[in-house]
């Protein structure tokens, strides 16, 4: 058996160019399949890691996906607000450990502006409990301080100390030009929607709307900034709130209480559950991607079978020699299948090498540029499974040339009629 394996390997080596190209095609297809799989799980994990350690998200009553989208991903708009009274009422309930209010609705260029409290920086966690950190400057201290995400700073070229004007609403031409902000700090890259957010204090959101009524600036001279500073800037409403409970056992009772809140229609969601539902919608694309890469592997294996088949007529002499030495047609069939399996094995192993090589190079780029963190783990069950499947599939498709070789060697015997 070892001799036959050695012969098959020598035979493949003697056709190095064709064999090399075929193996390369298999390797690329395997690397693609495993890469897609890695990116898929990485994206899923990154997605699920967008928010962690928050037990409930509360907003006006809508659906759990819309609430998640606007409260966490800053996509779309809230249908309604939560009044400050209701918010105070809810966070005063027993069992609530902490609460962070969020106020959305304004923007700066293409980025959303979010009003919140200092507690946001302590409580917002991502990727399994990582906290936000300031890369440059400090958190907001003054009323007109703004903290910006890494993407905001990078794309708009902002530095600490730069002035920044908030536009009213989203995609609006009305600026709150009379109340400019100053950038106090820039956050580190997180790979979450925080990177694309301008964070200000809740009071600041109130302050810039002092002179505004029903979406337009009141005519007449704007209230001077000094006057605004003296005013009571307690917000009348917020968009959403992040809640933490004292004991995880209380999550559902608190959720039920909020959902049944009599004074206002509210909705409390579990972020993890909502993320899963959202992924279920987004996940269709991932299935298509995996399907396409499986087809690429199948194509590469068919190419392998075609390559063996095309080589058969040139190898009739070789088969005749084997026959003369006592090899039965079955042994010749086995030899061809051995070649196919060897090629597939080399291709699969090379593909895994490509994958890890690519990961080492691309991992930091993907993480910083796209916030997609793909952990480099050891070769595990999925990789082994792919190698096994590819080898088995290669053995299967090699039946086409192998059966043909069987027929040829049976008909030719020891002599080849060229």
């Amino acid at each position: 058996m070892i001799l036959l394996l050695k012969l098959a390997a020598a035979s493949l080596r003697s056709r190095a160019l064709t064999v090399g190209l075929t193996v390369f095609a298999v390797a690329l297809s395997v690397a693609l399949l495993l890469g897609v799989e890695k990116a898929r799980t990485g994206a899923k994990a990154s997605f699920a890691d967008t928010i962690s350690d928050t037990d409930l998200i509360v907003g006006a009553r809508s659906g759990q996906v819309p609430l998640l989208l606007y409260a966490v991903f800053r996509i779309g708009n809230a249908t309604n607000n939560i009044t400050w009274e209701s918010y105070q009422d809810i966070i005063g309930r027993p069992g609530i450990a902490w609460a962070v209010p969020i106020s959305l609705g304004d923007s700066h260029r293409q980025f959303r502006v979010m009003g919140t409290t200092q507690a946001y920086f302590e409580r917002y966690k991502y990727r399994g409990g990582r906290a936000l950190a300031v890369a440059d400057g400090a958190l907001f201290d003054d009323l007109f301080d703004a903290v910006i995400g890494a993407d905001v700073a990078a794309q708009l070229g902002y530095a600490v100390g730069d002035p920044i004007v908030v536009a009213h609403g989203i995609a609006s031409f009305l600026d709150h030009a009379d109340t400019p902000f100053r950038i106090s700090g820039i956050l580190e890259k997180t790979g979450t929607p925080v990177d694309r957010t301008v964070l200000v204090s809740l009071e600041a959101i109130e302050a810039i709307h002092v002179d505004w009524q029903s979406g337009a600036q009141r005519p007449g001279a704007p209230t001077p900034v000094e006057v605004i500073r003296q005013m009571d800037l307690t917000p009348k409403a917020i968009t959403a709130a992040m809640l933490g409970v004292q004991s995880r056992l209380q999550i559902f009772s608190v959720q039920r209480a909020i959902n049944d809140y009599p004074n206002e229609p509210l909705l409390a969601i579990l972020p993890g559950v909502a993320l899963q539902e959202l992924w279920g919608i987004v996940g269709i694309a991932e299935t298509a991607l995996v399907g396409v890469s499986v087809m690429v592997v199948v194509t590469a294996l068919l190419g392998l079978a075609a390559m063996l088949l095309a080589g058969l007529s040139a190898r009739r002499r070789e088969m005749a020699i084997f026959r003369a030495m006592g090899a039965g047609p079955a042994a010749i069939m086995g030899l061809l299948m051995t070649e196919a399996v060897l090629m597939a094995l080399c291709g699969a192993v090379l593909g895994i090498a490509f994958l890890y090589g690519g990961l080492v190079v691309l991992q930091p780029i993907l993480d910083t540029r796209f916030g997609l963190f793909i952990p480099i783990t050891g070769i595990g069950v999925p990789e082994a499974l792919v190698v096994l499947t590819v080898v088995a599939a290669a053995a299967l498709v090699s039946l086409i040339p192998s059966i043909r070789a069987y027929r040829i060697s049976l008909a030719d015997g020891m002599t080849v009629k060229m």
């Binding site: 012969l7 084997f322 026959r323 003369a324 030495m325 006592g326 090899a327 020891m414």
Partner: protein
């Protein structure tokens, strides 16, 4: 020529009973002394384009026979019948006392590997494998020959050395790097390894020049006699006959039928 091998008793009885039943037998040798025995053989290639009949053809054990025939005279067909690649439509082919017709396809393959060493005209070797690996391949399919080699590699090197090849020539590099003459020697070593009872050679010298032919033939027959093997060599060159015990013309033993172009 002395028979140095033990005969397989059951197979002998089988062929002996068959022999006694068939035709006249005046100077017929005992069945146990025959390496090759064809009787009343008829064979047709599929589609009936070419057929061959052989009434009787025998090679004694230890005998060396040169079979002379021009191309198209049915040499290849006869050899494929003796080697059990093809089975006759009628008649019997007995090799070393075994009626090949009684064996299944895979048993015939095994039997061929164990019983017959084969040398072709040229392109005998797997070009990508080393000479040494080429010599060792038949042992993979021939358990009886493998048993006769305690150390297969050493035996292969001994044989190639006896045929005038160095270890460097056979052990390293592909066989395709060897000259035609060297390749033929490797092919001889491959046919001889594990001492199969019969050596069949199909025009093994046609690719060599006349002087090389002589030396090559002497070397081969020398090894064959040492091993006590029977030899059936096919050639179109009757001049080689003086080195053999017997020369048989193919046209004397076989009738060829060809429909249209053969």
């Amino acid at each position: 020529m002395e028979d140095t091998r033990d005969a397989a008793p059951s197979a002998d009885r089988l062929s002996a009973s068959r022999l006694s039943a068939s035709g006249p037998s005046a100077d017929r040798p005992a069945a146990g002394e025959l390496a090759i025995d064809l009787a009343d053989v008829m064979f047709d290639w599929p589609a009936g384009r070419f057929g061959l009949s052989v009434d009787a053809f025998r090679v004694r054990r230890g005998e060396s026979v040169l079979l002379v025939g021009q191309s198209g005279s049915g040499k290849s067909t006869l050899l494929s019948l003796i080697c059990g690649i093809n089975v006759p439509a009628a008649g019997t082919v007995c090799v070393e006392g075994t009626d090949l017709g009684t064996l299944s396809g895979s048993r015939r393959d095994r039997f061929r590997a164990d019983t017959i060493g084969i040398i072709f005209q040229m392109f005998n070797l797997l070009p990508y494998a080393s000479g040494l690996d080429n010599v060792l391949v038949p042992l993979r399919f021939a358990p009886a020959r493998r048993r006769r080699c305690a150390d297969a590699r050493a035996e292969a090197l001994r044989l190639t050395a006896a045929l005038g090849l160095t270890q460097a020539q056979v052990a390293y590099g592909p066989a395709s790097a060897l000259s035609v003459g060297q390749q033929q020697r490797v092919a001889v070593a491959r046919a001889l390894i594990g001492r199969p009872p019969i050596l069949i050679a199909d025009e093994p010298t046609s690719a060599l020049d006349t002087r090389a032919q002589d030396g090559f033939l002497e070397l081969v027959l020398d090894q064959v006699h040492q091993a006590g093997m029977s030899v059936l060599m096919v050639s179109h060159d009757e001049g080689l006959g003086r080195r053999f015990d017997r020369v048989v013309r193919l046209c004397d033993i076989a009738r060829v039928r060809s429909a249209g172009a053969a």
